[in-house]
């Protein structure tokens, strides 16, 4: 049955796209929505049946180039099918409302819709196909279709620039993957991914680790690990809101899927890999959030936060690898379990936050945090949903972010019981990093929520008030509900997570199984405690309500040291909110400042601009490119536009191709002649 479903899933795309020419733009929107909805339903049915009946495996014969094309849907694939499906479902529902503004660009919208469907299909197929050549082709389809959906507003120069940046970096990613797959193909002669297991198991550990590093760089570029993250903060602000949400929610997660899949396949020294992944991830997490705080573009801020969350997921993966290396059951479960759960959680709250940012953008036509304020009164539903997303992303109970972070903390503290000095030292470093990430996220989201939604508007706008239509909020409330449900009843996910984690350790005795289950019991306690916390808060608030109702309550202006003039200039700005933090990190980060100070008797208006930059991007991308350009610009005299010179180059080239072999053969004859003397 699953085979039929998978085929139906892929055929639906063709049916949908072929139907496009026969409908007007509204009809095309409805087709897109229904195709995606049906596809998500099919994908979920496949995933659930895999979780119930065990994994599905079959193969197509393929051509003489590709060889056998095996399709394997195991628990890991099924988990990602569910995560990707849910985010695309909400993304499509939200996107259709969001895109109504652009109804006057029908051809652009159609292209967007086609690319959207292709993107979804290729992402789902990537999780199922296990032939490296076909995988690369679909990976390319995914990269191209995401490029098209990102550059929807292609008439803006910035958008196009960000899109091209994305396109180039995706191809660097594909290059690394091609290298790695070619390596395996050349050594084993097979495109089947299981060849990796056979190959690495028979080779020394160094080869396996090296192969993993290639895969890690390839998938890491997609996932946004530091220092391969530079495309993320550029592409997210450029894309429409639903695409940003989907990109941050699931497209970068396909990189995580790749890494998890490779860890399952590669059989080598897991300890080294564990340390490597842990180090990279901690760096990623701290660097991402440290830069997120200084951003004043709401979408850019959220994009840097995706990098941070990839770091947290990576920490989970690293702990899991250490567990595999040291044969520690608890570490394997908490590490991989935490990483998988955080993948789901992040896709939920990050898409919610991006959809909220989309609403803000359509109301204010800007993403500059400094220009906003007091939006909670204008758009309350967006505001409170943003608050839910912020609390969840900071990892605060009773929301879902806490569950996965708690999982990972458990792994870290249980890992401390291990008897190796090096492990302890490393885990200390990771704990420090993870705690810093949590604290910095708190600063970042109090800033984002407080400055954007609270206080008073800082810039007077004459735009009509934003109407919060119901249809737009249906997917957002759906996400908020799942955030809360995961936060309160994490035990719902214990069975699927246990099944996935068991894939990494095929042989688990009854003792190991028991240990795994006790870890999940802890989570259910956390859920109940969170529920109790909500009840306590509600009860106390009710008491307060009863008491305060009886008292005399007045309304007045905000107290400001005796000064009663009401002006929004009094409101704290985002730059001042993070000023002390900025001073602290200025030596590490790169922040460009422009200042106009008050000088003389009649000073001009005082101004200060800060432009947060990315130091790693400057070192690793901008500087080398600048170097290449200066070197290559020495040779611009060759390209002088003169047709005669170009013909001369042609003659020189032809002459050289004929003469050089001739000269070499003569020379070698001479050498051999001299040798005989």
């Amino acid at each position: 049955m699953e085979i039929k479903l998978i085929e139906l899933f892929n055929v639906l795309v063709l049916v949908g796209i072929l139907a496009f020419p026969f409908f007007k733009i509204k009809g095309r929107g409805i087709i897109t929505l229904s195709v995606i909805t049906i596809q998500v339903l099919i994908a979920s049915i496949i995933a659930i049946s895999v979780f119930v009946n065990g994994s599905v495996e079959y193969a197509y014969t393929g051509s003489f180039i590709t060889g056998l094309i095996p399709i394997r849907v195991d628990y890991l694939s099924a988990w990602f099918l569910l995560v990707i499906g849910f985010t695309f479902l909400t993304g499509a529902w939200y996107g259709i409302q969001y895109m109504k503004q652009y109804i006057d660009q029908p051809s652009n919208l159609t292209l967007h819709a086609v690319a959207f469907i292709v993107l979804f299909t290729s992402l789902i197929d990537l999780c199922m196909i296990q032939n490296s050549l076909v995988l690369l082709v679909i990976w390319e389809m995914m990269a191209l279709s995401s490029f098209i959906v990102i550059i929807f507003e292609n008439y803006k120069a910035d958008t196009l620039k960000a899109g091209i940046n994305f396109l180039i970096q995706s191809h660097v990613c594909i290059l690394f993957l091609t290298f790695a797959f070619m390596w395996v193909k050349v050594k084993t002669g097979s495109f089947d991914l299981q060849a990796i297991t056979i190959y690495t198991a028979s080779q020394p550990a160094l080869i396996g680790v090296g192969l993993f590093v290639f895969f890690f760089i390839g998938f890491g570029i997609k996932a946004g690990f530091v220092p391969f993250h530079t495309w993320l903060p550029k592409a997210h602000p450029a894309a429409p809101a639903h695409i940003s949400g989907i990109m941050s929610g699931v497209i970068i997660k396909i990189g995580i899927y790749g890494i998890l899949r490779m860890l399952m396949l590669i059989k080598t020294d897991m300890i080294t890999i564990g340390y490597f992944v842990l180090f990279m991830s901690t760096l990623t997490g701290v660097y991402g959030v440290a830069l997120a705080i200084v951003q004043h573009n709401l979408k850019k801020l959220l994009a840097y936060h995706s990098i941070e969350n990839i770091g947290i997921i990576g920490i989970g993966i690293g702990i899991g690898c250490l567990g595999l290396g040291y044969h520690n059951q608890v570490l394997v479960v908490t590490g991989f379990g935490g990483a998988l759960l955080h993948t789901l959680n992040h896709s939920l709250f990050k898409s919610l936050l991006f959809y909220c940012a989309g609403n803000v953008y359509q109301a204010k036509h800007t993403m500059n945090i400094e220009a906003m304020g007091g939006l909670l009164k204008e758009m309350p539903r967006t505001g409170y949903l943003f608050l839910v997303g912020s609390l969840a992303i900071c990892g605060l109970p009773p929301f879902n972010g806490f569950i996965s972070e708690f999982f990972i903390y458990n792994g870290l503290f249980d890992g401390l019981q291990a008897n190796q000095f090096l492990v302890n030292l490393f885990l200390l470093f990771v704990i420090f990093g993870l705690v810093m990430i949590g604290g910095l996220a708190l600063i970042c989201f109090t800033k984002a929520f407080g400055i954007v939604f609270l206080g008073t508007p800082k810039v007077e706008t004459r735009q009509p008030a934003f109407l919060e239509k119901h249809a737009r909020f249906f997917p957002m409330f759906l996400i908020a509900l799942s955030i809360l449900v995961i936060g309160l009843f994490p035990i719902l996910f214990s069975a699927p997570l246990l099944k996935i984690v068991a894939l990494y350790q095929p042989v688990v005795g009854p003792v190991g199984r028991l240990q795994m289950e006790t870890i999940f019991e802890r989570l259910s306690v956390v859920g109940w405690a969170s529920l109790g916390f909500i009840a306590l808060m509600a009860l106390l608030y009710y008491v307060r309500y009863l008491v305060v109702r009886q008292r005399q309550n007045l309304e007045d202006t905000t107290w400001s040291c005796g000064y009663t003039g009401e002006t929004s200039k009094m409101h704290y700005t985002a730059s001042s909110f993070i000023r002390s933090y900025r001073k602290l990190v200025e030596p590490i980060l790169y922040i460009k400042k422009e200042k106009v100070e008050a000088v003389g008797l009649y000073p001009e208006k005082v101004k200060q601009y800060t432009h947060p930059g990315d130091k790693l991007e400057r070192w690793l991308i901008d500087r080398p490119i600048l170097f290449f350009r200066t070197v290559l610009s020495r040779f611009t005299f060759l390209q002088n536009g003169n047709i005669q010179t170009y013909m001369l180059y042609g003659f020189i080239f032809i002459g050289a191709t004929i003469l050089i072999p001739l000269i070499i053969s003569k020379f070698s004859t001479l050498v051999s002649f001299l040798n005989q003397l």
Binding site: N424, L442, R544
Partner: protein, 301 residues
């Protein structure tokens, strides 16, 4: 259960002892020990003035803050008898629950649209971020030391065998005292008695709260102090029987309050810009404790 009642009891007199110590140290007689609680009750009976700029966030934040601290108190054990909520890894939830309350307080300060309160909020967010690693590394060291990861099992297993472990207990006390001072915005970081909004941290955040809400916030501060006092007491109680541990608990709370009063009487507030450096000292002390634990356990290479 025992610890919950004891902490509530301690929270009633804690602030009074601090104020009494401060007044005695400066040569005054000072108010009675229960005066701060009387002030709070007076506030609870008063009406409030709400700013026109504020929204529902401002209404719920003080209650949520109080609820978060209360929830955290429920997790604190008393020696061998566990708190209401106790499970492996509960100290992670303890820290995150406190952070939840803090998040809402910071956001509610920004809700008023005042620049003073934004300033306080900014500082509170930064300082609490900096203090967090100290707590986690300290608890991580104890988890390593005892082999357990819940408050109750850590504290009941904590025993002092060698001289180094006494030193660790002393250092841990030092760290917890300073964490309590920073979390409550007391002396080396912030001066609660300052008259100038520009130099305040916590006080300036709650400038617009009045009446019932202000009373709740002030009581929450007392409760928070008593909660940290209870953690410090737990470092020494271990598996002692209740008839001995309860007087010891009260004694440690009073000592802690007197120490806070003395620090505030004879210390000076550090410059705002130097606070981050000061707070990082705590993290380095916790790392010292971590290595100390490794030394005691013989895992140090």
């Amino acid at each position: 259960m025992v610890s919950f009642l004891l902490i509530l009891l301690a929270s009633l007199f804690f602030m009074g002892v601090i104020i009494r110590t401060k007044s005695l140290a400066s040569g005054r007689k000072g108010p009675g020990i229960f005066q701060p609680m009387r002030d709070i009750f007076r506030l609870l009976r008063k009406g409030s003035v709400f700013s026109k700029t504020t929204s529902f966030i401002f209404q719920i934040a003080p209650t949520a803050y109080f609820a978060s601290v209360l929830m955290a108190v429920l997790m604190i054990p008393h020696g061998n008898s566990p708190g209401f909520i106790s499970f492996n890894g509960d100290f992670v939830m303890f820290a995150y629950i406190l952070a939840f309350g803090k998040f809402l307080m910071i956001v509610s300060a920004l809700d008023t649209g005042s620049s003073f309160e934004g300033m306080g909020a900014s500082r509170e967010a930064l300082f609490s971020m900096l203090v967090e690693p100290a707590f986690f590394i300290l608890m991580g060291s104890f988890a390593l030391f005892t082999g357990h990861t819940s408050f109750q099992s850590i504290f009941s297993e904590l025993h002092y065998g060698s001289y180094i472990s006494y030193m660790l207990g002393g250092l841990a006390t030092f760290v917890f005292v300073l964490i309590a001072m920073i979390e409550n915005s007391r002396m080396p970081v912030d001066d609660p008695k300052t008259h100038l909004e520009l130099t305040m941290v916590h006080e300036v955040m709650i400038l617009d709260n009045s009446g019932f809400d202000l009373g709740v916030i002030l009581y929450t501060t007392n409760l928070k102090f008593a909660m940290y006092g209870a953690i410090i007491a737990d470092l020494f109680i271990g598996v002692l029987p209740l008839w001995f541990s309860i007087p010891l608990f009260i004694g440690i709370q009073v000592l802690f309050a007197v120490a806070v009063g003395l620090i505030e009487s004879f210390g000076a507030r550090s410059r705002m810009g130097h606070n981050p450096q000061f707070i990082f000292i705590l993290t380095s002390v916790s790392i010292l404790i971590f290595f100390g634990v490794l030394l005691v356990l013989g895992k140090f290479i």
